[in-house]
């Protein structure tokens, strides 16, 4: 008895997947906030320096202009030497973001190259590369940065970017290597090898596209750390103190005793800006995490059933028991909610 395959032509294709909502809709709320916030800062970085009300370096010699609280003329007040804080902030955001993003790009590129290649080649090269990676992971970056940059006569943006990128790639490399090791033995890679595809092509076109969310997460992390480190360095004084980045603003604020003199408008805005950029990036990362790790995503959206929060220990909920729980006033209110409509629809559908 054999069964001949027969497809009824009058039936619609039931095996097609329902279309997935676009990636924007699938992002959790937190991540959306992060994206919006980050875009705001990028926008500020782009147009900010073009719209500064004053030249940030211009020092107003008159004593009455020093350390002014925010006013109509100076929206964020002035520094000790009469400079406009708002202008400095606008320029600072661009400089800081610029630095962070460049470091992110360079370090992530290095991380992908080293991590993926090492895992893919295996053997001696893998051992060597992961040794190098691990050593630089474990040596604390900030003190090393301080020492290395300390030798440069001008601690400008270029050396800072270079040294940061050189110190930050191991973090991403480690992750990339682990993931590549997992993918390397999968069938589609073996298939490419069989057909004689060249190694670099396999890496570029088969392996890397599968690790995009990891690369994105690594990039965001690197930018986060780069910004934090550059601000910390500038705060200590290991930076080009004539440029206006958020970190140097804090340095000058600290050295001019802004705290003790109560000039909060000088150190709060740059610090707040750094914190908000950081928060935006962390939120972004959460979104990428949840997109990539289905368990986190399922957990966040799914722990709420029929209006109740569930813990993993709770037994599978039974619909009748949930709807029974609402009596009296609570039940009355509940009858307006969307979940109660779902419950009713459920009840109506029972044959």
């Amino acid at each position: 008895m054999t069964i001949a395959p027969a497809i009824g032509t009058e039936l619609t294709a039931v095996t097609q997947e329902a279309p997935q909502p676009g990636w924007w809709r699938r992002l959790p709320a937190k991540a959306k906030v992060g994206v919006v916030l980050f875009c705001l800062f990028v926008l500020t970085a782009i147009i900010g320096p073009l719209v500064t009300p004053y030249d940030p370096s211009y020092q107003n010699p008159s004593p009455g202009a020093s350390m002014n609280a925010p006013s109509a003329a100076h929206l964020l007040g002035t520094t000790q030497s009469g400079q406009d804080v708002l202008s400095q902030l606008l320029v600072g955001i661009r400089l800081t973001l610029e630095l962070g993003l460049i470091v992110g790009v360079v370090a992530t590129a290095l991380a992908v190259i080293v991590g993926v290649t090492g895992a893919f080649l295996g053997g001696f090269w893998d051992e060597l590369l992961s040794l190098v990676t691990n050593v630089f992971l474990v040596i604390p970056a900030l003190p090393l940065l301080i020492v290395v940059l300390g030798y440069f006569p001008n601690k400008g943006e270029a050396p800072t970017i270079a040294v940061l990128a050189l110190l930050l790639w191991p973090w991403g490399a480690r992750v990339m290597r682990a993931q590549t090791l997992a993918i390397r033995n999968r069938d589609f890679v073996a298939a490419s090898r069989e057909t004689g595809e060249r190694t670099w092509r396999i890496i570029a076109f088969e392996i890397v596209p599968n690790e995009v969310s990891l690369i994105a997460a690594s990039f965001v992390n690197t930018v986060l750390y780069a910004i934090g480190a550059s601000v910390a360095l500038a705060f200590i004084g290991v930076a080009d103190l004539n440029s206006w980045s958020l970190g140097t603003m804090l340095y000058w604020a600290q050295s001019q005793q802004a705290l003790q003199l109560g000039a909060w408008w000088w150190f709060v805005p740059p610090g707040l800006a750094v914190a908000l950029i950081g928060t935006a990036l962390v939120l972004l990362n959460t979104g990428i995490d949840e997109l990539g790790n289905p368990r986190l995503r399922d957990a966040s959206s799914a722990s709420r059933i029929a209006g109740r929060w569930l813990r993993p220990a709770d037994p599978t909920p039974v619909l009748s028991e949930i709807s029974q729980r609402r009596h009296g006033f609570a039940g009355f209110l509940h009858s307006f909610s969307r979940s109660s409509l779902l419950d009713q629809a459920e009840a109506g559908e029972r044959r």
């Binding site: 069964i3 009824g8 329902a18 399922d298 059933i305 599978t316 039974v318 619909l319």
Partner: protein
């Protein structure tokens, strides 16, 4: 039928099934009209749809079907072990174990009652023992966990019980000290089985226990399971996609597709003359050692998307006997009159065991008269 939520009897030390009172009438596990959905952002997925199944004392019932057919969801859902976003939307699961004073609906139990029910009355052998065993605890600790949770006995007694459980499944006692990663696959599965027996349950649900093992070990373990069942008297709900296994092992087989049962009969009857097209397809997917050589055919296509189930019978796209009437089918299980098994039911009213398949190309064939 509704049953008032009785309370399960407390765990009397050492009370075994043999000593229990005379069995109450009715099957040990009675699943009625059970429906389970997964509530996802993209919509509700009906994983199990109005399912009925009864498990008798000492019986082995096989649950067969492809991955995604809902077999595991049915079993775990009946025990309320499914995690969010699962939701039981309908039905009752009445438990009538020999230790229990009154029949009780599992779906209505309070968490503490459920905890008493778990393992002591219904135990589970999971699919992948490597994943189901805690990697940081030794075998002994995990067995003691299971024992102490339900049986009140002094420590050394519990320890010797754990050792004798390992004896039951043929594992050396020295392995009590081992960690899961130090055991071979077959050993791990045996440990799982030993653990399932720790509290002398009435029912053991086995979720593809041998799928991950090689054939020789599979054979051994299955033989062991049968021997233990005969000795200790528990019932088994055996979930697998391998119908050939069930033909040997099970008393009755329930075939599941897209969240619904399509055929239920004794294993002899399924082997002799299966009634539903899907079952026929499954039977044709593996060769038998004896009997004439015939052409092997699989079942082309894949299961439907349960988010938007098609009207009527879900098997239509892959069915060789499909006809326009199938779209209006309500999937009730109907008795098969020509069967030796009086309880043989099928969901397809058009196809009988003797119905020849449709010649490919023609839209409708002659129906066999029910």
């Amino acid at each position: 039928m509704s049953a008032d939520p009785g309370t399960a009897a407390g765990p009397a030390a050492g009370s075994s099934l043999a000593d229990a009172a005379a069995p109450s009438s009715g099957p040990v596990l009675d699943i009625r009209d059970l429906s389970v959905v997964y509530r996802t952002p993209a919509g509700d997925v009906r994983a199990v749809d109005q399912v009925n199944l009864a498990l008798g004392a000492g019986e082995v019932v096989g649950l067969a079907g492809e991955s995604g057919s809902g077999k595991s969801t049915l079993a775990y859902g009946a025990c309320r072990l499914l995690r969010a976003p699962a939701l039981v939307t309908n039905g009752s699961v009445i438990y009538r174990g020999r230790r229990v004073s009154r029949p009780a609906d599992i779906l209505k139990m309070r968490p503490d009652e459920l905890r008493r029910l778990r393992w002591r009355e219904i135990a589970i052998v999971f699919q992948s023992a490597m994943n189901a065993l805690n990697p940081v605890l030794s075998v002994r600790d995990q067995m003691l966990d299971a024992i102490h949770a339900h049986l009140k006995m002094p420590r050394d007694e519990a320890h010797s019980r754990a050792a004798s459980l390992l004896d039951l499944v043929g594992i050396p006692r020295s392995r009590l000290r081992s960690y899961p990663h130090e055991l071979s696959g077959g050993m791990r599965q045996r440990v799982m089985i030993a653990m399932a027996l720790a509290a002398e349950p009435e029912i053991i649900i086995m979720d593809e226990p041998t799928t991950a093992l090689d054939v020789v070990v599979q054979r051994d373990i299955l033989a062991q399971i049968v021997e233990l069942k005969d000795r200790l008297g528990f019932s088994i709900l055996f979930i697998t996609h391998d119908l050939s296994l069930l033909l040997e092992l099970a008393d009755r087989i329930a075939v599941m597709y897209a969240g619904r049962f399509v055929e239920i009969a004794t294993s002899d009857e399924i082997h002799r003359e299966a009634a539903h097209p899907y079952t026929k397809g499954l039977l044709n997917s593996f060769p038998s050692l004896r009997g004439p050589r015939r052409e092997l055919a699989g079942i082309p296509g894949s299961p439907p998307d349960l988010r938007s189930p098609p009207p009527g019978c879900p098997f239509v796209p892959r069915c060789g006997y499909a006809r326009p009437e199938c779209q209006d089918l309500d999937m009730r299980l109907l008795p098969v009159a020509t069967s030796i098994d009086p309880d043989h039911v099928t969901a397809c009213p058009f196809v009988l065991p003797e119905t020849p398949p449709v010649a490919s190309g023609s839209p409708a064939g002659e129906p066999g008269t029910p």
